[in-house]
Symmetry: C2
Subunit: 442 residues, 2 copies
Amino acid sequence: MERTYIVNAADGETVKIQGFVENLRDSKSMAFLVIKDITGRMQVTVEKESAPQLADVLTKITPDSVVSITGKVVANDYVKMGGRELLPTEIVLESVAEPLPINRKAIAATKKHPAVERSSIYQRIDYRWIDLRTDENQLLFQVQTYMVNAMRRFLLERDFMEIHTPKLIGAASESGSEVFEVKYFDRKAYLAQSPQFYKQMAMAAGFERIFEVGPVFRAEKSYTNKHTTEFTGFDLEFSYITSFRDVMKIEEDLLTDALAKVKEKYGDRIQELFGTEVVVPTTPFPVVKLRDLYDGLEKEFGYTVPESEKNDLTTDAERLSYEWVKKHYGHEFLFVTDYGPEKRAFYHMRDENGMPMGYDLIWRGTEITTGAQREHRYEILKKQAEEKGLGEDVKFYLDFFRYGCPPHGGFGLGIDRLTMLLLGVHIKEAMFIFRGPNRLNP
Amino acid sequence: MERTYIVNAADGETVKIQGFVENLRDSKSMAFLVIKDITGRMQVTVEKESAPQLADVLTKITPDSVVSITGKVVANDYVKMGGRELLPTEIVLESVAEPLPINRKAIAATKKHPAVERSSIYQRIDYRWIDLRTDENQLLFQVQTYMVNAMRRFLLERDFMEIHTPKLIGAASESGSEVFEVKYFDRKAYLAQSPQFYKQMAMAAGFERIFEVGPVFRAEKSYTNKHTTEFTGFDLEFSYITSFRDVMKIEEDLLTDALAKVKEKYGDRIQELFGTEVVVPTTPFPVVKLRDLYDGLEKEFGYTVPESEKNDLTTDAERLSYEWVKKHYGHEFLFVTDYGPEKRAFYHMRDENGMPMGYDLIWRGTEITTGAQREHRYEILKKQAEEKGLGEDVKFYLDFFRYGCPPHGGFGLGIDRLTMLLLGVHIKEAMFIFRGPNRLNP
């Protein structure tokens, strides 16, 4: 018999459902099971006298075991889960679960049992596959799938190619300090910190518009709620732009489109399970120069930093900028421009005053993107690399610009961080399995 | 002025086109440039007397330089490229190219010049961004983008989630010999050889249907036309299957759908540039047991192998199987089942006779997939791992099956290899940048 998704099991039908046993009450004459599949939950009610063939299997079922149950769906107004229950004729125990080593949710005290605390995030990651069985976590990855594919479709409809650039690279790019080293036969390789150089190689190849979704690796010993040593980057690059404002434009359109689609499909469910509203932004997004933002933060929140730090955004200013942009624009997003050249990568194009022609995008007080027009003129780019003390390691990259290269620009997003901000969770919750300096398992 | 794609530049319009200078002839009174962008080519004709402002820039333009040209499109029946040419009023040299270090195409001899040989694939990879500027290479990545996203859409429409599993892992999986080792702060990590274990973790998490598109790493010293140390895997896994035949079914439907879409959109262009026909297969694909295939190959092609090798497919048999399946079924695909258990991974489920319940899929004489139902029962899986001598390294994986796990199966494809077979090129041509034991650059 074909399986029926629980959400589709209708009164009066004989169906086979399959899922995890979420709850189990076994008494002398009756047994009640709650079965959960990816679409919902269903109560299975066994009247033992009328189903003696099930007695044996019922003694073996444990919480979180996986079962296939065939039976008839009947209406029952007293049952919460859709006002129906399944009266089984057959139960197959597909996989029996040992006692669970974590509590994925807190359980309130009852007359019989004291309250159960939820396991810590670290314990839950140890047994991530058990932790992921909650409605919240399954929704999170459904939403992430949907959001990223909305973004992908947006770009495909605009003639972007999707490429896959190498993660194993021959030279430690950008700066040697934060790169993982790989034993590559009898030499060393490194893990790409971003597809930046290869995205730009695609521009030199005349690909014109490309994006990539793939892992990026950061050998940073950061123990914050938003850093990780491996995450999934969403990077794009496109040619024949006239300014970095073209890059900002495509990014705001891309995010607005994706958030509108997510809200339409999952907005209510996100509100219900995460208590977070999906807000579809208006375009254009507000833009502020870094200096002006600091002036505003000082004036309105009394926030001051030494003059020497005003060429970059401090973490506190980043967070406060959310209050500022909400107050002035009723907006969640904020483009910040005019960062100091000493704080920006050598490959950002600079204007006639030496100001980098790029931006950061802040969402809900957290930076999600750095974008820029890139310097595509070989001699200038070489000079900017040398100013940052970069030599042999970027030579292979500088060569991309010696044989003709269109003007271009782009940006990168982290999809885990995007998910984190969308749903209001920590980064460790927003990825399939978190990776940090002390965390390589499972 | 907004840029116009060359394909859209119509007679009588004043437009700005942007692209690479593919060809350049400069005589006393006239200059002819061929400009190529991602959509096509256009001749730009300069009558020097009537456009003196262009004299200076014309002396600076070299082949493969990037230019923005504004002018009027006029019909000209003598011009090949769409019967039109551009009469420029302005030429901006965006990026000047040095003399090219490779010949990306062979050039036939002329009265004035001897023939030019095409650079070797190794030289071309050294300057891959120049090599990628050909129509063939740009089409290749457009086709790959389209094919992979057709596959992705097929799965999204069937409730699959797209996940991103870690590439940095704590234990050398499957077998220690072919895994890259990473220096991970003060300990070792490894690069995932496939998302296999984590795809299955998603099954234990109740995700039910997932796929992943991402890099996989193989520390193999293979120097063939189809191996590489890093490639892009397309992997899927789904739950509540009843047999590995469910896996074969979804794979043949997925590939048939993708090939039909590719043929519709790019079939003619592929024929034109690669001389290869895109053939949309019929379903179901032919299926043969490994033993029966060997019998057939012996009977019809006199191909024999020692009895001891008949539990796996030899490279010669793989290639010959294409002749066999064409002859018997008029088909390009062939499912081969019933491989010996000693040749299959420990996590393949086995039938009551110990035969692995999985398959390989051969396309045009090359293996593209291994698929199987997986063993989801902890005790049996543990025993099968131990039989293969696998212990501590797979312990974290075996734990996925201790707390309830649905029956499931899946397969993996390499999208570079798929592209290679679709277009009839070598693996080094089918990926953005090839990676091999001696190849980490650019």
